[in-house]
Each structure stands twice: as structure tokens, then as C-alpha cells.
């Protein structure tokens, strides 16, 4: 069976700066795959290429057989993308926001309502969905956004730093939400994070990214064993030859 995502020798330059220097990895169907690396490693650039927001300078990014550059419309119809630090429309209620987003995927009201109901269950926000988003806490907003990204049961979900900026309790809940949904629905997920413990908890396999290249790839356990490390943080330092 062909991988859900195939990234081959992806390169991207912004002027003189080379953000990606040949990133390659693949994600199997139903797998939660993590991109780990420090800020500026090239994680968001890779995800934005897969999300059809930007084009690579060279290389390819394929989602379920569709090329992200040549067939962006096809990719957009099967993929859901959550940007880092994303917000929702402040003056809409949570429910209105979900209905608005569902409208782009559902072709009739019934399907749209079913998606909103799914989001209600995923987010756990229940009655608070009637409130306007500007009254939500950071954690509630993130739960709403993740529910939005998953409610249409996409073939592939891309979550860029899903717990960034959240406190320990909020991050714990959000991680639980993602893991539960992925296990239940079998959705392929590509998650980026600089929180190694989070990735270890969530992901089946990870790619360690540093300065625009993948320095190591494997399951968290494999990587720890390969680099004789206690955790992924140590494995990353070894793989990236830092310290």
C-alpha cells in the first residue's frame, strides 16, 4: 500500500536563506508521524508545503497520490491543516465558526450539522460552543481548532505545534484529545513539535529535523536505542551533533 504522505528531497529557499536542504520522509496510512526540531529547523516550512500554502524550490510532496504543487485542490479536499498559534474568528460563536468551516467540506446542511456534532464531541466544549470565541481561554480555543481540523474526518491531518503556548493541564487535555481521535478514527496525522516528550507520547514514528535536514528517523524507541539516549531530547542532541 502506498504511503499517505511522501516527501522527497524537499528544498526551499527564502532569498539567500535555505530553509529546507533536502527533506525526505514518508508517513504510512493511519500513522501519527512527528517532526521534531528546534525553532527554525524547517518543520513549519515542510508542513506549509504539504498544506499547499507555499511551493518548494525543488523536490516533491505527495499526499495520497496527489502532488501538493501540481494538484493543490485535490490535496486540500482530503487534508486538514492547523497552523501554529492559529486563532478563530473572535466575533463568531464556537458553533458558528464550526458551521462556517464545515460548509467548505459538506455539500448539504445535514452533513455540515453532522460535522459540527462530531466537533462538539471531539472538543468537549458542549454548551460553551454557543459562546463567542473572544470569551474562550487559550486551551478552549485550541480544542475548538483541533476539533475543526478533525471534524470532517480528513484523510490526513497536519497539526503544527498543537500544544504550543498551553499550560501543562491544557496541553495534557489537547494531547489526549488528538491521541484518542487518531486511535478511534485511524486518521493519518503529521504533527510538528519542539516538545520531545509530547511527540514521544503521541507519535508512532518521528523524524528529527535540524537546520533544514532530517538527521534521523524511526520510532521513538528505535531512536533512543540507536543513540543510546534516555529520551528523545538526548537522541536529538546526539543525532544533530550538538553539545
Amino acid at each position: 500500500m502506498a504511503p499517505a504522505i511522501t516527501v522527497s528531497d524537499l528544498r526551499k529557499s527564502f532569498g539567500d536563506i535555505q530553509a529546507l536542504k533536502g527533506v525526505s520522509f514518508s508517513v504510512e496510512d493511519g500513522e501519527i508521524f512527528g517532526l521534531i526540531g528546534p525553532n527554525g529547523a524547517g518543520k513549519t516550512t515542510t508542513l506549509r508545503i504539504l498544506g499547499t500554502l507555499i511551493s518548494p524550490t525543488s523536490g516533491s510532496a505527495v499526499v495520497h497520490g496527489y502532488d501538493a504543487v501540481k494538484e493543490p485542490d485535490k490535496v486540500r479536499s482530503i487534508l486538514s491543516y492547523l497552523p501554529e498559534d492559529a486563532g478563530a474568528y473572535q466575533y463568531l460563536s464556537g458553533e458558528e465558526y464550526l458551521k462556517f468551516m464545515a460548509g467548505f467540506y459538506a455539500h448539504d446542511k445535514e452533513k455540515a450539522n453532522a460535522m459540527v456534532e462530531a466537533a462538539r464531541g471531539i472538543s468537549g466544549l458542549e454548551g460553551r460552543l454557543k459562546d463567542r470565541v473572544n470569551g474562550y481561554s487559550k486551551g478552549m480555543k485550541r480544542r475548538l481548532l483541533i476539533a475543526r481540523a478533525l471534524m470532517m474526518k480528513p484523510d490526513v491531518a497536519i497539526l503544527d505545534e498543537p500544544t504550543a503556548g498551553l499550560d501543562v493541564i491544557q496541553a495534557y487535555h489537547v494531547r489526549g484529545m488528538i491521541k484518542e481521535y487518531a486511535e478511534k478514527m485511524g486518521v493519518t496525522m503529521l504533527v510538528s513539535s519542539h516538545n520531545m516528550l509530547e511527540v514521544e507520547y503521541l507519535c508512532h514514528r518521528v523524524a528529527l529535523v535540524n537546520e533544514g535536514t532530517v538527521v534521523a528517523e524511526g520510532s521513538p524507541q528505535e531512536l533512543k536505542e540507536r543513540f543510546n539516549a534516555v529520551n528523545l531530547e538526548e537522541a536529538f542532541m546526539e543525532a544533530a551533533h550538538i553539545g
Partner: protein, 436 residues
Amino acid sequence: MGSFTSIASKEIKELVRDPKILFGIVLLPLLLYPLMGQGLQISQQSVEQAVKGATFSVYTEDTGQIAGAIVQYIIKNNTVTQLHASSLQDALTQFQASKAVAMVYIPDGYSANITVGLKGNVKIYGNLRNMNLAEAQSTNVAGRSVQVYDYYYSLAIIKQLMLATNSAGSPAAIRDPISLSYASIIKGNVVEVSPDQITGLIMSQSIMLPIMVMMMVIFAIQMAATSIALEKEQKTLETLMTLPVGRLTILSGKLAGSIFIAIVGSISYMVGFSFYTASAFSFAPGLTSGSLTGTGVGITPVGYLLLGAVIFVTLVSALALAISLAVFTDNVRSAQSLTGVLIVPLIIPAMILMFSDIDMLPPVIQWVLLAIPYTHSMLASKAAFLGDYWLILRSIIYISVFTVVVLWIAAKIFSTERIITGKLTTFSLRKKPKPQ
């Protein structure tokens, strides 16, 4: 609901629910302008009251009968205190200590001068205690009283001379032998109204529309730029652009939402402004457009229709420009600074054309102004008054072409990654890479 309708309706909901926009664009004009008009009316009424109740002083050094006659006239027709002083200095001291706002001073020799056929001197002192309009106008009332006396006194003198010389004719005609009147020719019709009054009417009425359009466009630019910047700042635009919806649909949906709010804002502005003019100028009715019926001056239904089209295309062009530029900003603050720059070419033609006609300007300035689309909305309002529909059509075509070009650029920007990676600071044009 289609994607376009969905985006436009989301945009309207967001904008209407934003208290800053609801208050600033919809409610403020409805509250502010009537209040301003009321304020102006109250201040004008208070000046009128102060002038009506004003008291004068009269001091005469001349004890002759002719001087006595003018003093009696002034005392009879006004609230006047006659000062008895030893000198002008003494009279001025008494005048300053009194509540009088003006002092009519008749120096010695007034009667003697008039008796021998020379001009008699009269001087009016105005006491500007508070330096306000009422004090100046009260002084003018004293002056007008002297002028009225001067007119009738001169007629009496002329009549005496005519009797003495046994001459025929009217004393008034001898005093002012030429009777001057004005008429205007508009589109071949002779109208018994002076050119000054007609241009005054056109100015006062045709200026309202450009001001309204200018205000509306400024609101719309700020609103559209803020809306895009907010979407960028909150990364909702990034999310929108990964959805299965065309980039042009996103752009046009956002434009439609902004246009709707701008139209609501302009209606609110017009209603507010009409309250303002109704109350602010209630004391000076002057010439009305009714006086010009049948002259071909005035806006016909076709004119209104064309003006509506001009306003619409102007609005769309401004919004498209604002959105195209706002995509290069990082946040709301920098978007608002950027729109400040856009407002300059809007205000310059408005300021120039408010006081001058485009044909009177040097050719280079004319071309520069004509290149700015907002100039055309100002020219169109005057053209609508004069029924010059070809000029309005020309303006609509120019603004439409400009809008299509801007929309094409905006659509191009929207379909590239520049919307995600491009940045434009207020003072410099540069692309900042932001790899992560």
C-alpha cells in the same frame, strides 16, 4: 450556502459584531453629526440673542442740531445710553465700565461739515471684552444703524437740493444712478439668478457627495485592511487558504462583506450629515434647488444612478487596493499605518477640488489628479449636477479599469505564497524570510 456567500456572510457578521466598527462606522455618524449640527445651531442662536439684546453708548462732542438729529435717531431705534463726558478719553472710560458693546462717537465739527457740504465723521468703538462673534456683530449693528440714517439723511439732503434747484427725478435714483442686476446662462437658458448664487448652490450641494465618498472610502480602506491583517495575525487566513475553496472566492467574499458594511456606513453617514445640515444651516435658508427648476441644473434620476455606479466602483477599487496592500503586513497596527499612506492620495484631490476647478489647474497637476481614481468621484458629482453624463461614464470606465487591474494583482497575490511569506513594513519594502 456557497463558499462565496459563506465567506461574505462570515465577514459581515465579524464586522458588524466588532464594537469598534459598529460604533465608528454605523453609530458614530448617526450620533455625532446631529450633535454637531445642534451645537452649531445653539451657538448661532446665542449670538443672535446676544446681538438682539446688545446695548450701545453714544457720545457726541458736537452740540449742533444736525448732530442732535443722528443721536436722536440712534437712541430711538436701539437700546442706547448717552454718555456725558468731558473728553473722548473720559467717554471711553465710561464706555468700558458700562455693559455697552459699542460706542458711537460724533466728533466736534460734524454738523459744521455737513452744513457746508462736506462729509460728517462718525466713529464706532467696539469693546471686545471676550473677543467673540457676538461682540463683533453687535458693533456691526451699531454701524448699520448709522448707515441707514446716512441713506435717508442723504435722500433728504438731495430732495432739498432738488427743490431748491427745481430739478425733476427721484432722490434715490440720483443717489444711486445705476441699478445693477445679474443673470446666468446655463445650457442656453437664461436664469434670473446670479452666477455667484448658482455656483454657491452647486458647491454646497455637490461638495457633500465627494466628502461622503471620501469618508466612506477611508472607512472601507481601514476596515478591509484591518480585516485582512487580523486574519493574518490570527492565522485564520492561513487556515482558510488550506480549505477546498478558490483563492479568488476568498478574496471576493471578503470584498463583498466589506462593501456591504461600507454601504451601511455611508447610509448612516448620509443620514447623520443630512441632520447636521438641516439643523446647522436652519438659520440661513438661502437659495434652494427649487429656484433652479427647469434650468437643467440639478441631479436627475439618471444622474443619481450614474453617481451610484461611480461610488460603487470607487469603493471596490479602494477595497481591492487596501486588501492587496494589507496582505503584506504582519499585524493590524502595520496595516493601519499602511492605510494611512493610502488615504493621502484620497485627501489631496478632495482638498484641491474643493476650492478649485480641475480645468483651472496646470496640465501636469490635472494629469496627476486624473490618474488618481478618487478624483473622478469628485468630478462626477459636479458633472451629475450639470448633466454631463459622458464625463461620469468616462470616470466609471477609468475607475473600473483601475479596479480590474488592482483586483487582478490582488488575485495574483492571493494565488501565490506571497500572502504567507510577503511582508511590507511601513517604511521599507523588503521580504523577510521566516523559515521554521
